[in-house]
Subunit: 349 residues, 2 copies
Amino acid sequence: MAGRSVAKAVTRADVARYAGVSSAVVSYVVNDGPKPVAASTAARVREAIDVLGYRPNINARALKLGTTGMLGLVVPDSSNPFFAEFALEIERVATERGLALLVASSNSDPELESRLIVDLAGRQVDGLIVSGTAGPPRPRAPGDRRLATPTVYIDSSLPVAGYHTIGSDSIGGAKLAVDHLVVDHGHASVALLIGSGARSSVDERESGWLEALRALDAQDGPVVRAPFTRAGGYRGGLRLLDLSPRPTAVFVSNDLQAIGLLRAAHEGGVRVPEDLAIVAYDGTQESEYCWPPLTSARQPVPTMAAAAVETVLDNPDAPSHQTFAIELVIRRSCGCGRPGRALGSEPSP
Amino acid sequence: MAGRSVAKAVTRADVARYAGVSSAVVSYVVNDGPKPVAASTAARVREAIDVLGYRPNINARALKLGTTGMLGLVVPDSSNPFFAEFALEIERVATERGLALLVASSNSDPELESRLIVDLAGRQVDGLIVSGTAGPPRPRAPGDRRLATPTVYIDSSLPVAGYHTIGSDSIGGAKLAVDHLVVDHGHASVALLIGSGARSSVDERESGWLEALRALDAQDGPVVRAPFTRAGGYRGGLRLLDLSPRPTAVFVSNDLQAIGLLRAAHEGGVRVPEDLAIVAYDGTQESEYCWPPLTSARQPVPTMAAAAVETVLDNPDAPSHQTFAIELVIRRSCGCGRPGRALGSEPSP
DNA sequence: CTGTTAGCGCTTTCAC
DNA sequence: GTGAAAGCGCTAACAG
């Protein structure tokens, strides 16, 4: 059905004919090598290219070279601002390196996810970056057939044998959040509003929250589980606010949920941070512009994205693991600053 | 540099050898045609495929067929939730049709944008969907060389000669917004906070705003221009709130700006909607979860995305234009509902 | 039902 | 400095 309509593309042979040279020469001038070409010939070729409107067929090139100049990215949900920002950063560094980005969303469905991975691998992408819904894959069995495509799992705070993995230091991040609430703001205990995913293992944000509380001899507050979405945060928030006694402080596992919680609080007349202090996780742009602005444990997205691309491209063998420190961005929802006045009141551009 | 590490992939020839058939037969079973294959042979081939872990090389296939099974999408800013949602929808329908999506962000830079378009076209995508930062291209000159790739411009409320265009009915949408503010809420005039882009022509949202005001014999309020971002809305909002007399109602050209404006209002102690009624444009998810929830003129993103893909794939010739009606989603920021209580208080999932 | 084979557009070695 | 030709992995005539 397609293919029919693609107006007969002009090919390297057309250019060669028009310029009165061989197709090899066209190749030399297009790629600026590997052989030198006389200046005058080159000029003629370039003119032919211009006149004819020639565009090299990148796929043919890929076939010959065994390289596609494409990266694949699969995320659970690209409308989650965190993944959107991640994707944008990856795209930025890919573009810088002359690569294009093939994206796919698994919609948090492990089955779809693996189909997408297989599909992208079949498209011969030069590297695959995946944020697994089902968490990182299980360690590779000894005789396992490798996926030929170099792959890195992001969003994995622990190493997985046989794979490249990258993640933020969620344990450390959770601790930062809890410490701030307990030490700096004097809360006796901190609740947890956390995502309920398909992930098999315990979320490290939960471990960090617990560890921090223990280390401070503070009490762990109630735990509420809800989907990693605004709506999930809203519903989870409703339950959280219904608890008695109502928690005075909560650590929320991502910005989206915190925003949902904020809505629940507004509707219930619960003042943030006066009645309920909130620290979130991710530090997306959206967290800066809700009301009150969210204090959030920010993942260094640009750095992580750059590392992902680099790892998969420059280091395809030798599985590695990298963890990135997170930074607590202080705004108003934790209780810092003055009411009605956002901290750092000139928002970033 | 790349290519080296790609573990020698298993090819159709390997499978053929292993199964003791010709490569054509392998092709027949993989594609389920065009020739029939004996059941027993097919089984042998399938087993070989399995054992060897064979994956067809999609690029080779593309080269042969003149079709890549890829769509290209270029947007100004994929971290804008509106475009993120759009991209997600396009991806969804593309996946349904077995196509992959190549995305690129122009970062609102017209120069980058055209480079990206050329690059994607060179990658032989089967169709190109672009949301132009420079607006749709100028009408095609008679002798103009066509871009061979079928292309549709989204976000273009007016037709452009020689191109496929798709857009929401921004004039109608703006009127809906203004009418609601003036007729239903009794505001004597409505201000405008609108994006300042690279677009050459006047934004139709501005025209709609003006027309609606005229039609109602109402007064046009002040116009403030600022970038299409949260920060832009914030800064524009600061200026707007500084005006005297301060407007009592404002139509904002996208959700992002409205969210920035909301922050400015919160900081300035201006109550929304009591002191300032707001109606935004786009109707992204984020508009549902800020506080107060935004009344917004919603673009039918899924419908538009489906139309874009269909147009570019099934209708590559015969330039067409499609406009989609927008729907005013009533929430709290316009003054509807009760204070502290969001309208439709059970948010969507 | 199965096999042979000619390319798709490109790069690159090897000759001139 | 330039050209001829092989071949990347795949499909689809065309023969058997």
